[in-house]
Amino acid sequence: MADADPDFLAAHLLRGVRVASTVIATTILVGLALPNVLGALDAYRPAWLVLAWFAVLLAVALVDGVLVLRRRSWGPARWPVAAMILAVSGAALTAVPGPQLVTPADPILGTVGWLGVLLFADRSIRLLAAFLACSPVLTLVYVGFADRLDQPTIARLLLATVSIGGFQLAAGAAAMALRRVAAEASAAAVRQSEIRTAEAVAAQLHADRDGRYEALRDSVVPLLTGMADGSLRPADPGVRQRCAVEAARMRRLFAEADDTADPLGSALAAVIDVAERRGVVVSLSRLGRWVQPPGDVRGMLVDEVAAALLSADGSARVTIGGSEETVAVSVVVERGDVEGGIRDRGDVHITTLTEGDRVWVEARWTRVPAPVS
């Protein structure tokens, strides 16, 4: 849960908005602009300029549809695309004869803005507003050049800008509001899932601890009662072995109580646990505070101890100790089956000594590799 994509909810919600925007833009293009263009085709000088304009806008709407299907955003490509739309729109305006400007036969003013909604609704409302303003400004400039700045034209321009632009701006604002809500919902969902994870971890830790104490009760209590009522004799080597195993487990349990920030110590404890189940009596001693090695090094250190410990028979002594720069794990086993020698595995320096049946393995890792001595 911890690696859940925080944008998942936002992406899910915004996809609906994008699908709607794309459908609106395509519908306006095909259902509104196209009939107007075709109806006034004879009036345009030249007609192909307006048809090209329409083709470019339709192409942008289609590409947007593909992006929506693929769950991708325009990204930085939005800038050249926006510039291209404005350029072809400006060019197409010159093909519209003066009397037709800002009438149904002039589809440019009312249509361009919808493409802006497609391009900028996932960015900011200011960008969108700026883009929406471009189309009336272009028209105004061209109307001025065409010397048609008469009252009815200005009135139509204002009316069209406010009504159509307001529509487009509202659609963009709705998308952005939804995006903010979605982001907040995502963050809340992540927070909730983090809390759930923390709770699950705490419950698991508690259960583990309970389980360990349970296991102790199951094994220690019968042993103690047996010795108290005389059914188990301390002189019996078997009973003594059991006592030693239980004592080692209890000591380790006490040592584990404060090791939550010590993954190396925990990993070592787990290996010791396995060895104890095989009947090896393990004593664990800790010395000082040690630097925590990276995960792969930790695995190597524990592996070396495990190899010796799990080949052992009888009793074993495990130590872990170090400083700010170094950490060493060591195990001495009786009747172990390990070859002697000195070797290096990566940054881990391993020394193995044998003396009769006794084997001593030390694996040491130093943060900055020490000069060879």
């Binding site: 130590t319 001495v332 001593w360």
Partner: protein
Amino acid sequence: MDQGPGTSVVIIDDHPAIVSGVAAWCAAADPPIRVVDTGDRLAVACAGPGRSADVVVFDLRLRPGPPAFRELQQLTDAGRRVVVYSQHDDAGTVLQCLELGAATYLTKAEGKEHLIPAVRAVAADRPYAAPALSGAMAVDRSPGRPVLSDRERDVLIAWFESDSKSLVAERLYLSVKTVETYIGRVRVKYANAGRPATTKAALVARALQDGLIELDEL
């Protein structure tokens, strides 16, 4: 000082099982060590037969709660040779006991191997440092600690890890005798540091006498 042949001890521990275990080791030792008194209070070492014991085997946790440092200090102030025998194995507690003048420190896990040799060494004012104590001295970072050479620290760490002087000797290409000398010398350095105590002075005097250290090293 001797009330009879051999070494005598008094055992202060609140666990009857520990007391009988230590007593059994003492009885089985060759030559045997006499246990003159046992109990769970300091009084057994200060009055009665316990007063004359050569060595006090002292549990640092006489009752639930913090370690019994005050009682330890009372014993060392009275010039008693104390073997602290405790389940604590953290370096801080171990070093605190040395500072208070304990002759040596054994964890309960070390008792079987080290208690009898420790009692004998301590009775003769000779240094004794089992693995836990050696490790604590090696990682000591407190101000005013004795200066240890790298070699001394290597020996202490190896001794802490292996609990075998012959393995330490093999690892560091030394003789067992030299390993013992290194460990003993560090212990004496500690006796010569920090707050003075008669037990520490006795340890240093004996080390000089034995030639373990030279006067100009102090």
